[in-house]
Assembly symmetry: C2
């Protein structure tokens, strides 16, 4: 059974306590979003997600999307849920108030995103893509484009897409073939075929604004010849009402492993009218503005699925009676004990819990930085926030989606045979979560971005935004009475990370394949050190709370046990990946291609 | 695309070279199966699997099974393929010749099983279950039962099932409720409901022989009150022709995540006629005879899927052009390089390759022991083989299925978005492989079997059957010119395993939860040490071959690179699980159930 209630207490811990001294200081412009307001928004979001989105999650998976007379139909209940979503103002939660959004900080917005990803990942894609499109448009669109499109997208009336992939090119966009021919009126005719287009067509919003990558006739080859175009499904009239259908059409819906209620379309642009967004041949840059936001959002998808997988597993582990506890009968009146008594079930539950709380803590930190980039008072704090976001974006995307997928499989395992049966709703989590490791740049590409771009960037400045607070924290708490042991573990892992960084810097400089060979292991190690730092800090704050006295003793004690499990069980094997990293590329690259 | 050609060269390496000095000596009764005969059988099996079973693998997944007028229909092509399978004598490959089988050794039989698991896991379940049922029947059936049923099962005319699970009990069979009432003619009336019954009904064989666990009226509660009954679908007449339909009926087919062409049935026994197999109240013992064989077979399922996942990925990685090599253009005439040039793609391919070759090496060793248990000349070798099988059965089952599932997901990742699309056939591997971690005892149960039963058994005698050859091998090759570095890695990992064993022996004796908390990490560590031993040994033999000169230089060189990758990249993190194991149960068990 799919079970969910938003982990609001933990979210508030992250928003209010954990990152209080992250050095970004108070942020400007979010004065309305005080603790009361934030709590109220989280409560309302929980209601919407739990009571509206969750009930159509499994049915949506079973029903899927279909094309009827050339129009994509989403599953039963989706249009109504979307209407409620928009009416509640959720479509524009973090969008600037000047475009009709709510202007909430990302640190809050990401928590709400987590909830919708938990309860209905497929549904979340529709407004999620709109959000991404708005980011590009706001950054690169003309004033006219912004004032015309942004308000209708911020309230969800119109939705958005990003049209990049073609059959022969996904990662390697330099090969894309879609063409844009300039017209006399300043518009362009767009012609080409795209695949894997999320929310490419649907019946939720009245219009869809496609951001399409295409080539101008005189464009240079490769990625430097790609421009971005805004292509509406229906040509809007000046008053915003809808005119003619643009020949930008979904020709098929992909048959996917999961995420079936999200319409992933094959799109045909057959001389569709579009307008240039940003400069000619600078489309990739404009798309990457969107891509980076999307990458953090995709990381949150992993966390979201991990959370509902955890909650559903806890529910089952307390209900399902099977076997007796190794330390003596716990449920003498029943035919067996609930399976939560068994160590191996505990192992999986605690692992999932660590993944979720660790990912939430790191993402809350990154989300604070996303806000601080623009809203920190000190310019230096804004710079540091920017560096930190740059460094952590690939980590959030790749690590959280890997962990979310792992967690979804632990949920299946806890459910045993029942987890493999569709009606239980558990295997859906694994099928849905799987795509997040692939789209918006496969996780291997994220790792390459980390070691190939983010590490060397400006002599390692991005890295310092992370290394500095961690090493300072270790220094400040070495031998601490309460968290000293955790600090010891963190220090070892941080040492392994530093050594691995040195290896990549030294070897990778001469031979980029050396950096590439280390990339995936390195990303995981860095991410686990970030989680370790957050857990040690959380434990410190929890011990302090318990010492000063609190009526939430259970919450803080659980936080400490979770942190201990992380350091006891999860960090050591990842730390040892340092050995894999420093072993170099040879055993990975020596095999001749023919020998495979 | 699903691509497969049996890895016969590697299979032969395992059969003929790798385990030549395993101490079991020559086996008696398999004289017909010399190297020529073995090669011919492998070639024939490859043809059947590649050319008959593979072409209906994906279509079978898409079509699934259905019930028509109370009869289960398998997908298109399955009945014809089954006919070919039986006509070729494959149904009784390892069955004793006195029952009409081929009498081939398990060491060969498991290789053939690997092929069918690679090419059509769903299909393989039908004869696989029959095989399991034959093992129970041969061990516990009366002479009359054996001579009547075995020949028809060995030629596949009749198939078999094992009916254990009920809705409220899977792992905890003590709770099962199905009843058996003795009749005056010596038969029993069986009444109850079973779920998750693989091959419970189908249209492949003319009759189905169910082995059903049920309780006699006066049976003691719990597992000591379970008996095993033979319940045919159609009541056979004395001449073997079919009589009345027995009320043992599939009432529904489960809707599963994968393995959709295998009919997993809900079964209703409504006063069905059956006969006791073995002694009253000793049904679990009889079922476990079958279960142990099945557990090794399920491990092979993981390997089988891992192998086709690897081959399909290699094919794609050589075909798919995307990006350029970090060390310079490799395919100057094409628009991009094949993705096999990228380190992260290599990392996944090499990891899959290691999983497959490592699992195949260990399973070949265990299969040799399965044969040696009965066919070794020296009684002492037979005993040692038995100990080794007992120890390794849970390891083969759990580790190989975990690795096969991991490999299937690497295949998806290598395929990128195309891996998530059903038509490519890749995501099917992951959905199919997933069940193997659950059925025949979930992997957590395997780990508990290992630490709770197999380790302490007879003061650690099982363990010595493994520790002794490994420590001897390390001692013999320390500082070896060629494999000295690998031996160093193996020694470290073996040390970690010994320390972990000590921890479990010491702590687990006083507190079984301590052993339970260590179990899963321990099983993986033990399995990786076993693989490491096999890889080091394989490398040693390969170096020797290269030195003496061989026209298969490529094969032996690839083997060495694969072994190096294993020691460089895969062993270190698993070795570090020793730290998790020795951290004890507290962080896993301290959390109050309410706090989850």
């Amino acid at each position: 059974m799919q079970v969910y209630d938003a982990p609001i207490r933990d979210m508030r811990f992250n928003l209010e306590e954990l990152h209080a001294e992250d050095g970004f200081g108070d942020l400007e412009g979010f004065e309305d979003f005080d603790e009361d307001m934030t709590s109220a928004i989280l409560e309302e979001a929980n209601k919407l997600c739990r009571d509206v989105l969750l009930p159509i999650n499994w049915s949506g998976d079973q029903e899927g999307c279909r094309i009827e007379n050339g129009v994509v139909r989403t599953p039963k209940g989706f249009p109504e849920a979307y209407k409620q979503f928009c009416e509640g103002g959720w479509a524009g939660l973090t969008v600037d108030q000047k475009w009709g959004g709510q202007g909430a900080p990302h640190s809050l917005g990401k928590m709400v995103e987590e909830m919708s990803c938990s309860t209905n990942l497929s549904f979340g894609l529709y407004p999620g893509l709109t959000n991404g499109a708005m980011v590009s448009l706001e950054a690169y669109g003309s004033e006219d484009q912004k004032s015309f499109y942004m308000p209708k997208m911020a309230n969800g009336e119109w939705s958005g897409t990003m049209c990049l992939t073609e059959p022969h090119c996904g990662t390697d966009l330099g090969m894309l073939r879609t063409k844009a021919e300039p017209q006399e009126d300043g518009s362009y005719k767009i012609t080409g075929n795209k695949i894997f287009i999320s929310a490419g067509d649907h019946d939720l919003a009245e219009n869809i604004i496609h951001l399409v990558l295409a080539r101008l006739p005189d464009a240079p080859p490769g990625v430097k010849g790609i421009s971005m175009f805004l292509v509406p499904k229906f040509m809007p009239k000046d008053d915003g009402s809808l005119g003619d259908r643009n020949p930008a059409v979904a020709t098929a819906i992909e048959h996917k492993m999961g995420l079936k209620a999200s319409a992933t379309c094959q799109m045909s642009f057959d001389g569709a009218t579009g307008w240039l967004v940003g400069k000619e041949n600078r489309g990739l840059e404009a798309m990457f503005a969107m891509m980076n936001t999307e990458r953090v959002a995709v990381g949150i998808q992993g966390l979201g699925v991990g959370e509902i997988a955890y909650q559903s597993s806890v529910y089952y582990a307390k209900e399902r009676l099977q076997g007796r506890s190794l330390s003596g009968v716990k449920n003498p009146d029943g035919p067996a004990d609930p399976i939560i008594v068994h160590p191996d079930v505990r192992r999986m539950l605690m692992t999932m819990r660590c993944y979720n709380e660790g990912s939430r803590a790191v993402s809350a930190w990154v989300a604070r930085a996303l806000d601080a980039e623009h809203a920190a008072k000190e310019p230096e704090a804004r710079e540091r926030a920017k560096d930190f976001v740059a460094l952590m974006t690939p980590v959030v995307k790749a690590l959280f989606t890997d962990l979310g997928h792992e967690a979804s499989h632990m949920a299946i395992q806890i459910h045993g045979g029942h987890g493999y049966i569709q009606e239980t709703g558990i295997e859906q989590f694994a099928r849905d979560a799987r795509i997040a490791q692939i789209y918006e740049g496969a996780n291997g590409i994220q790792a390459l971005d980390l070691v190939g771009r983010k590490l060397p960037d400006r002599m390692g400045r991005n890295l310092r935004s992370f290394f500095h607070p961690v090493s300072q924290f270790i220094e400040d708490h070495e031998g601490d009475e309460k968290i000293g042991k955790m600090i010891g573990g963190l220090q070892q892992a941080f040492g392994a990370l530093q050594m691995s960084t040195g290896h990549i810097a030294q070897k990778g400089l001469k031979d980029p394949e050396e950096a590439g060979a280390a990339a995936t292991d390195y990303l995981r190690l860095l991410g686990f050190v970030a989680m370790g730092y957050c857990f040690a800090n959380a434990a410190k704050k929890s011990y302090a709370k318990l010492k000063e006295g609190t009526d939430e003793k259970d919450f803080y004690e659980a936080k400490i046990i979770t942190a201990r499990f992380f350091f006891d069980r999860l960090l050591p094997p990842v730390m040892a990946q340092m050995m894999a990293i420093t072993s170099g590329k040879s055993s990975m690259m020596d095999m001749p291609a023919e020998a495979f």
